[in-house]
């Protein structure tokens, strides 16, 4: 495969598509599929041919606005229809070449206009199982350019220059990680894609893998070339069956096109990818635990150093990056590190994909430039809290993150600003809560999660989260005292400072951040024995006999 051949494939896809007057894309991501968008697609295809229209119906990945699904996009008119059902198919087919159907039209311009799509540039635009669709949108151009015209060091220089930081949550500079692995001695090295998206309330990686899997494979191949690896693993959650099946197809397609395998692009570079299924353990998002899981063992982390960059999978130097990080690589190589660095804020470059959920109108996936204010994401892009309720808090970073109140909404989204505010960027879950959520109960929910997900290897996390849960339960059921609160705070700092891995070190964050911003709710539960949001079932105060 050469760049010229890529051009030919792209050209033939474009010629094929130009035969049609209209292209109708039907979202078939997990959200829309759950509303039978597969039947909708078949119905549309039937209606279009019955109406004698020269149109082509395509399956695509996620279009982002899950709240309005199933979504249908008609091009070149660029008409977006929402809540489309199979019975609307005839009407849509009939409306081609005419005025669009007003009552089905999705008029959420402000939702889309504020977004900048880099990672999601192909999501909802291409058929995720057709590699030629990806190639027609400049796919694999970056890989072949890197292989033919760039040295591995040159690739790393571009990544370093781009300022890209790990999108899994840690925010470690990607270029630095790559150069460490590249410099590590050893003939055999590995590249691992971390798709163990365990954060409840986050689905960015699922969407990327379902909508544009080739992009992740290309990113991994470029990384492998840069660090000198020949074998890659994609670790995906077993809970994401659609992502797994689309990835399996994509790997097969990439091999068929000679973009995985031996002598890729007629160069000496060899690289192949295998899928490894997760088995439902949140801790496996931690890199050393993930490696243990790929090796077929219990997913327990081990102390670092040595870092996986020096001694990872089977003791070999290993590069581990998140799905979204790899998805950012092809455009960086294509357009240059400087282009990427021009997007975003001072120390956080590029864009970030967020899964916007909870008590908000436009739930779904959004991609915004770093530095954008939380308020813009929630009120403009997200459409705000549904009527009748008021915004209370936004939770970022999942069980490792924190809850930020309304007065913090004017901070810009970046790794450092969120950290300073007591939360973290995390992998990109963003859950909005309104006045019906009790913040003590929310903290208890997250601590329960960390307690059940603690692997049990180190004591602070194993025993500490269990004690934190007991204390929070007491506060929630009305039997907590101010001493309990003091003990809880002390325990939080112990667990935070002495746990072995990220899970334990960050498990107290939801408690600490709610204590920081919503302390009055804890006091209400303990002193006044009432839950302001009316969520907790508090026992009546016990009369102590004199």
């Amino acid at each position: 495969m050469t760049i010229e051949e890529l051009d030919q494939i792209a050209e033939s896809v474009r010629t094929e598509n130009s035969k049609f007057d209209h292209e109708i894309s039907v979202c078939m991501g997990t959200g829309c599929l759950s509303q039978h968008s597969d039947q909708l697609k078949d119905a549309l295809a039937k209606s279009v041919s019955a109406a004698g229209k020269n149109a082509f119906v395509r399956r695509t990945g996620c279009m982002g606005l899950c709240a309005a699904g199933p979504l249908v996009l008609v091009e070149p008119e660029d008409t977006l229809y929402q809540h489309v059902k199979a019975e609307n198919a005839d009407a849509i087919a009939a409306s081609l070449d005419k005025e669009p159907i007003a009552e089905l039209q999705c008029e959420l311009r402000e939702h889309f206009d504020q977004q900048v799509h880099v990672v999601l540039e192909n999501s909802g635009r291409i058929d995720p199982e057709k590699i030629d669709d990806y190639i027609a949108r400049d796919g694999y151009r970056a890989l072949l350019t890197a292989l033919n015209d760039m040295t591995p060091n040159g690739v790393i220089r571009q990544i370093t220059e781009s300022g890209l930081r790990g999108r899994g949550g840690g925010g470690y500079p990607t270029g630095l990680k790559w150069s460490t692995v590249a410099k590590a001695p050893g003939d055999q090295k590995y590249v691992i894609c971390n798709g163990d998206e365990g954060d409840p309330g986050a689905f960015m990686d699922r969407s990327v893998l379902e909508s544009d899997p080739q992009r992740v494979i290309e990113g991994m191949a470029i990384a492998a070339y840069a660090v000198g690896a020949s074998k890659g693993y994609i670790y995906v959650r077993a809970e994401y069956p659609l992502a797994v099946s689309r990835l399996t197809t994509s790997i097969r397609e990439a091999r068929r096109r000679g973009l995985l395998g031996t002598n890729i692009g007629n160069t000496p570079f060899n690289f192949d990818v295998e899928i490894r299924l997760g088995a439902g353990a949140f801790v496996c998002g931690e890199e050393t635990a993930l490696i243990a899981s790929i090796e077929g063992r219990r997913g327990t982390p081990r102390p670092r150093p040595p870092y996986p960059a020096m001694s990872g999978l089977w003791g070999k130097p290993t590069l581990i990056n998140n799905v979204e990080t790899f998805a950012n690589i092809p455009p960086i190589i294509r357009k240059g590190g400087r282009w990427f660095a021009s997007i975003g804020s001072a120390r956080s470059k590029g864009t970030k994909v967020f899964a916007l959920t909870g008590k908000i109108r436009n739930t779904g996936l959004v991609e915004v430039p770093m530095g954008i204010k939380l308020r813009e994401i929630i009120e403009v892009i997200g459409g705000g809290v549904p009527e009748g309720h008021t915004f209370k808090a936004v939770q970022t970073g999942g069980p490792s993150g924190g809850c930020l109140p309304a007065e913090m909404l004017d901070i810009g989204v970046s790794y450092d600003a969120l950290m300073a505010a007591g939360s973290i960027m995390g992998s990109g879950g963003m859950i909005v809560m309104d006045d019906t959520s009790c913040m003590v109960n929310v903290a208890r929910f997250f601590v329960e999660f960390c307690m059940t997900e603690s692997c049990g290897k180190c004591i602070p996390c194993r025993a500490g989260t269990a004690q934190m849960f007991t204390l929070l339960t007491r506060i929630c059921d009305g039997s907590g005292t101010m001493d309990d609160l003091a003990l809880l705070e002390e325990l939080c700092s112990t667990v935070k400072e002495t746990s072995l891995c990220g899970l334990g070190q960050t498990a107290p964050n939801p408690v600490l951040s709610t204590l920081k911003y919503f302390r009055h709710e804890y006091i209400d539960h303990i002193v006044h024995k009432r839950c302001p949001a009316g969520v907790c079932n508090l026992k009546a105060p016990v009369e102590v006999p004199a």
């Binding site: 409840p200 689905f203 077993a238 353990a281 790929i294 077929g296 879950g429």
Partner: protein
């Protein structure tokens, strides 16, 4: 060092051949343990002692280690599932949208706590930590099929339909 011959298949059940296939594809390497257990669970629905023993012996993994792996990961089940499975997502987005009430209603209706199967073996009630369809919260899976924006009535109606079968 004596060469270990792999143990014979536990029975004529064709599904064991699928399990063996996964192990062969991985060259009977020890690191194929989780992959193989996935195959067993998708073929048989759960992992019983016989299956764990067979896989462990075939891959030359100590029984204790195999059992340790099975019990470590939530995805693996040691009990056979009911004829139907209702999985209620208890991820954060679903929790904010009141999934705890759905779970309580289902537990009350079936008379079993989550993670168990009704005595007649008809319905299993399980929870999942986020299936990634948070945009459609609260989410319930009925026999693996995803339903978004689930209401208590719809969920109970589904349980009734299964019970009436």
């Amino acid at each position: 060092m004596p060469t270990l011959t792999p143990p014979p298949l536990p029975s004529d059940d064709k599904r064991w051949k699928i399990v063996n296939g996964t192990m062969r594809k991985n060259g009977f390497a020890r690191h194929a343990l989780i992959e193989t257990l996935h195959t067993v669970q998708s073929a048989f629905g759960y992992l019983d002692d016989e299956a764990i023993r067979f896989v462990a012996l075939s891959l030359r993994v100590p029984l204790s280690q195999a059992y340790g792996v099975v019990t470590f990961y939530h995805y693996f089940s040691l009990k056979p599932p009911g004829k139907h499975t209702m999985t209620i997502c208890t991820g954060t987005a679903c929790y904010i949208k009141g999934t705890d009430k759905l779970l309580a209603a289902a537990e009350q209706r079936l008379g079993i706590p989550q993670g168990q199967t009704t005595k007649d073996g008809l319905i299993s009630l399980t929870t999942a930590r986020c299936v990634g369809a948070c945009g459609r919260a609260p989410v319930v899976l009925t026999d693996g099929e995803l339903h978004g924006q689930m209401t208590g009535e719809d969920m109970l109606a589904q349980l009734e339909r299964w019970t009436a079968e």
